[in-house]
């Protein structure tokens, strides 16, 4: 029997009538583990316990994956060479990958979450990252599931002293996507940076929950979202900066810039700042609306028709995020896909 579980919970919640406090997804009775042929080893039970890191989607998804016997796979990546993950989603399948960035090392990871249009069902992909002292993790994700695959992409990170986790996510087309991200900034001067570009249309749902938990002094976080919505798309973005007592000197900022291209979309933005520490600086800014007519007029005066001008703006939403990809190979990979998608259009 399918299980209806709660993910992406807003903590603390707000008015129920706004329908942003959480998302519910129906998960299959049986989900299969996606194998990874190269570069990973399955964690034993003790190893799995060691990867008990909270994620953006939350505990109910963890309990579901555990009950389904989805074991974490520990990735052996520990060099600057790009580690590419392209899970082979089949109907109702899941994978959990764990990355341990050892002290002072840099990890470059690219995940390409895609599927053929023949794949029908639910795909769950989870990444757990432990960034140890002075390490850097550059995680790039491109999310482009086929029409038949509902995708749940879930991330949990623990960031130690002076470590840094850079996440770049590019959401292009595809089906319904639920995305969770949680970063526990437990080390002094730890830094988590999220750059997100999204283009959604064709009645697609994108439900997001991003949490930056500042536990240590001088920790820093940034969430930047740029996107374009059209054609019945529904997007909910929850972004939480949580300053916990003791994180003196911490700074957190989130920004969202969303273009709404027609009247059929629903855009919900929920940017929380929670604070129990005096000496912090937190900020949020959002800009939501139609493209500036002056800009469109300028582009049209240069011979670009309105449709093409809007396409250029959509592409810019994605490239604004992609520009922050640190690894050259990952950047090339993502830009090729962005351009490929635009050519298909």
């Amino acid at each position: 029997m399918a299980e209806n579980i709660m993910i992406n919970s807003l903590v603390p919640p707000t008015w129920n009538r706004l329908k942003v406090n959480e998302a519910f997804v129906e998960l299959p009775e049986k989900i299969n583990m996606i194998s990874q042929d190269e570069g990973v080893v399955p964690a034993d039970d003790a190893g799995a316990d060691a990867w008990n890191i909270e994620t953006g989607c939350g505990d109910e998804l963890s309990a579901y994956l555990n009950a389904q016997g989805i074991k974490p796979l520990t990735a052996a990546a520990n060099s600057e060479e790009l580690f590419v993950v392209k899970p082979a989603f089949t109907a109702d399948s899941a994978q959990v990958l764990c990355f341990d960035a050892t002290e002072g090392k840099t990890l470059n990871i690219l995940t390409d979450l895609s599927s053929g249009d023949d794949v029908q069902g639910t795909g769950v992909f989870r990444i757990l990252i432990r960034a140890r002292e002075n390490s850097v993790v550059n995680l790039t994700q491109i999310l482009r599931p086929g029409k038949g695959l509902r995708l749940i992409n879930d991330i949990g990170t623990q960031v130690s002293d002076k470590a840094k986790v850079n996440l770049v996510q590019v959401f292009t087309g595809g089906s319904d996507i639920y995305a969770g991200y949680r970063s526990e900034l437990s080390g002094e001067d730890a830094f988590a940076d999220c750059r997100i570009g999204l283009v959604r249309g064709e009645n697609e749902t994108l439900d997001m929950n991003y949490v930056m938990k500042h536990l240590a002094p001088r920790s820093k976080s940034e969430i930047n979202v740029s996107g374009a919505l059209s054609n019945g798309a529904k997007k909910t973005f929850r972004g939480t900066i949580d300053f916990v007592r003791g994180c003196a000197g911490a700074e957190g900022a989130e920004n969202e810039s969303i273009l709404i291209l027609d009247d059929t979309v629903i855009n919900k933005t929920v940017p929380l700042i929670l604070c129990t520490e005096e000496n912090v600086a937190g900020s949020h800014g959002a800009s939501i609306g139609k493209p500036a007519e002056e800009m469109l007029y300028y582009m049209m005066s240069r011979g670009i028709d309105r449709k093409r001008a809007l396409e250029i703006l959509e592409r810019a939403s994605l490239t604004a995020a992609a520009a922050h990809i640190e690894n050259a190979d990952a950047l090339e990979y993502v830009m090729n896909i962005i351009d490929e998608n635009r050519e298909d259009d």
Binding site: W15, D263, I266, C275, G282
Partner: protein, 469 residues
């Protein structure tokens, strides 16, 4: 530092905390059941429709759940709240006729003095009933109706009251609207006829004196086409060691081309559960302005909401919340853009100190037909120490491509450099911090009439006293 004179005299906490004896007041027994509701109806000689309405609301109250998303209200036990306390006096229209002890309380609060100096009319409620109501002759002659709610319910405007009563704040909205519908008592009815500009504000002041009691006043204001009104609401109570409850409702109807400003300085005692609801509906080319200062109460749920129904309607909300020791104040605002070319401007400030919890909760909804909607929301929070809590929880729900929505929020602390600079100019650290906090609240005080701004600044200074070390 010299003390500033205001219409609440040289303000200090003691003027709010004076407790009058309940001299032969009529007090219904604690709890909530059909018998009590019927007794309230008997006391007030309700028309039949209102009797039925109250009983339906009680049923709804029993069905609806306590909200799960806000501050805990476990300390509020309705079995220990008396929902109706009538002072032993009927309503008077001269202060000299008001019983001495009650009059003295309002004198201490500065209400008669404010009335003489700067108000066009005053209603003063004491526990469950109004004890004083008066309106300037010139304003009456303009056709403005400002009366206690019970008189309006049975008098010339009874049809208008019935047509509007709890139509904006429907009992099913939430448990405490339903409670209000069941036990409401007192409050004001205002009708400003077409084209009438009331140049001097009207004010209602609500004083809850009775220990372990609730106050459930209903305010209904209808500003007709092209009319203009500023209405001020004040409230206070002495502090007890048991819970008191305030669950008022304010319904505001702003007609085409009209303007209404609704200002509140709320200074309930810190044993008060303030579960208050306010909503305005704004028609074409009309404007609604909210000015809100929340300083008191133990726990607050307060989110004035506005429906911008008419094309070109506008709303501005300016609010400040100051949460000190033992307080959990959940405040904010809601706006729904429905008409075309509507706009909303929201500016909130919150301060948390001495273990207080301040939550700023907002929502901006732009419906698909609200072409040309514009909204700008700014939320600023100040943490005065590291034992307090300050949360900002905004939601934007945008459903049209033709909207321009901006939101910014920030949280920070008092700058050490600024404190150092002021201290180098001879201020004590305490005064320097109080001055910085007053400056932070400046945008709200600038929106208030001068004497209320002075009261607010004094309240801030009082709250800041003893915050060092």
């Amino acid at each position: 530092m010299s003390e500033e004179k205001t219409f609440v005299e040289d303000i200090n906490r003691s003027i709010y905390d004076v407790i009058d004896k309940e001299n032969n007041a009529t007090r219904l027994k604690e709890g909530l059941n059909e018998d009590i509701i019927r007794q309230i109806s008997d006391e007030k000689d309700d028309p039949d429709w209102m009797r039925e309405f109250r009983l339906k609301c009680l049923k709804l109250y029993n069905e609806l759940q306590v909200p799960q998303w806000g501050p805990g209200i476990e300390g509020l036990d309705m079995d220990h709240i008396s929902t109706y306390v009538r002072p032993k006096t009927d309503m008077k229209n001269t202060w000299d006729d008001v019983p001495e002890d009650i009059k003295n309380t309002f004198e201490r609060l500065g209400i008669p003095e404010a009335e003489r100096a700067s108000l066009a009319g005053v209603g003063a409620q004491y526990d469950s009933e109004l004890v004083y109501h008066n309106v300037m002759k010139e304003v009456e002659e303009q056709g403005v109706v400002y009366t206690d709610f019970e008189s309006a319910l049975k008098g010339e405007y009874s049809d208008m009251v019935r047509e509007h009563f709890m139509k904006l704040l429907v009992p099913r909205d939430h448990k405490f609207n339903a409670l209000h519908g069941a036990v409401w008592s007192g409050g004001s009815f205002v009708y400003v006829p077409k084209g009438v500009k009331v140049s001097i504000p009207l004010q209602s002041y609500f004083r809850l004196n009775a220990k372990g009691a609730g106050q459930f006043e209903h305010t209904l204001i209808i500003v007709d086409e092209g009319a203009d009104l500023h209405f001020i609401e004040g409230c206070s109570a002495p502090k007890y060691n048991v819970a008191n409850l305030h669950s008022g409702c304010v319904e505001l109807f702003v007609s085409k081309n009209a303007r209404l400003r609704y200002s509140t300085i709320e200074n309930w005692s810190k044993n008060m559960y303030n579960l208050n609801s306010k909503r305005a509906i704004v028609e074409e080319n009309a404007r609604m302005e909210w000015v809100s200062g929340s300083f008191g109460s133990h726990t607050s749920y307060l989110y004035p909401s506005t429906i911008l129904k008419g094309d070109n309607s506008t709303m501005e909300y300016t609010g400040i919340t100051f949460a000190g020791e033992g307080q959990d104040l959940d405040t904010g605002m809601k706006v729904v853009h429905v008409g075309r070319n509507t706009s909303s401007v929201v500016n909130t400030k919150s301060i948390a100190k001495s273990g207080g919890v301040s939550t700023t909760r907002t929502s901006v909804q732009v419906m698909s037909g609200a072409k040309g909607a514009k909204s700008v929301v700014s939320c600023e929070s100040l943490m005065v120490d590291n034992i307090s809590r300050s949360d900002t929880i905004p939601v934007m729900d945008i459903r049209t491509d033709d909207a321009d929505i901006g939101h910014e929020a920030s949280i920070g602390s008092i700058s050490d450099d600024a404190v150092f600079y002021l201290m180098s100019r001879g201020l004590s650290e305490e005064d320097a911090r109080a001055l910085i906090v007053s400056g932070f609240a400046d945008n709200v005080s600038r929106e208030l009439p001068m004497e209320y701004a002075a009261e607010m600044n004094n309240l801030i200074r009082l709250e800041m006293k003893g915050s060092i070390g």
